[in-house]
Amino acid sequence: MFLSRAFFAVIRRDLVLALRRRSEIANPLLFFILVITLFPLGIGAQPHLLQAIAPGIIWVSALLAAMLSLDSLFRSDFDDGSLEQMLLSPHPTTVLVLAKIIAHWLVTGLPLLIVAPLLAVFLGMPNHSLGTLLLTLLLGTPVLSLIGAVGVALTVGLRRGGMILSLLVLPLYVPVLIFAGNAVQMAGSGLPVDAQINILIAILLMALVLAPLPVAAALKMSIS
C-alpha cells in the first residue's frame, strides 16, 4: 500500500515538474516535428521516394528525440539532492526508478505518438500503415526510455556525459529501430507484421523487467 503510494507520488511529482518547466516537453517534440518537416524540403519533389523512406524518417527522428530528452531524466534530481533522498527511502529503488521512467515516457514519448499520424500523412505514408506505425511507437518508445535510463544513470555523475551516453545507448536502440522500421515498411506493402510486433512486445517486456535493476545500481554508484 505504502509502496504504491510512493510509486504514484513519484509519477505525479515528475508530471507536475514537467508541466512547470514546459521546455522539457516542448524540446523533444519540437525536434521531432522539425526534423520530419525538413525531409520533404531536402528531398524535393519526389513523393515516391519520400513515401518509401517515411517509416525510417519517423523512427530515426523519434529515436533521436528520445536521446535528446534523456538527460533530463535524472539530471535535476541529481543536482538538487532529490536523488539522494530517493535512494535513502526505505522503498525499493527499482520501483521508484520505474515510476520516474514511466513519468519520463508520458512527458517525452507519448506526445510523439500523438503527432506521429499527422506527420505520417505529411510524408505521404499509406493510410493502412498508420495503425502499425502507432503500434510500433507505442511499444518502442517506452523501450527507448527504459534503455536510455540505464545510460543516464551511469553518466549522470559525469560532468560531460553526453557523448558517452549516446555511445552507450545508441547500439542498444538499434534492434528497436530495425524491427519497428521494418514492421511499418511491411505494413505499407500490405504484408503481415505479427512477427515484428511480437518481438517488439518481447523487447518491451524484457526492458520493463530488467532495466530498473541496473538503473538503481548505477544511480547508487553515481551518487557515491
Partner: protein
Amino acid sequence: MRTTSTLSLEGTGLSCIRDDRVLFEELAFELVSGQILLLEGKNGSGKTSLLRILCGFREADAGAIRWCGDRIEDSRFHAQMAYVGHLDGIKKELTVFENLKMTLALSSAGQYSIDQALSKVHLQGYDDILVQALSAGQKRRLSLARLLITANVLWILDEPFTSLDKQGIALIETLMTEHCANGGMIVLTSHHDIDLPTVDVQRINLS
C-alpha cells in the same frame, strides 16, 4: 512510542581512503539514544565522507557500521534515519507543501503533520509558495522540516547551520534538544560550536 533502550549506532575500525590519501583510519564510535555525535575537523578532513558512509552512499574502505547490532544494509536502518546534506533535496519548482508531501510519500509519517512541522520551523503560511521564492535560510529550514514529518530516530546532518541566522540556529538547537529528549540520536558536522547543555554530546576530531 519508541523503544529507546535498544537503539544504537556503532562504527568499528572505519577508514576512508580517497585518491590515495587516508582521510581517517581505525575510527570507532558508539552512539545510543539521546546522544549527539559531533564531527569536527578542518575542511577536507573527511567529515562529509564519514556521513555519506553512514548513509550508505559509499562504502568504508575498512570497518563496519552497525545499527542495533546488525550491519546497516541488513537492518531497518533506512526506515529509521533521515539525512539533510549539502544539497537541500527540495525541488524549486514545487511549493513548500508539495515538497513535504513528496517526502512523506517516500517514507512513513512521523510525529508531526506537515502543518505542525512548518510552524515549528517558522514557515507557517508558506505552504503554497514555490520554493524558488524562498531565501537560502528558509530553504534550509524547509529541508530541516523534513526531519520532523517522517518517522525516524537517527538524524544525519551535514552542516545544518549553513545560511541560518541567529534565530534559525537557536531554533535548530531547540529541535535537536527535543529530538534527543525523545530518545532520538543525531550525527552532525558543524563549524558552528553547538551549545546544548542538556544533551550528551560526543565529539570526534578528524584532523
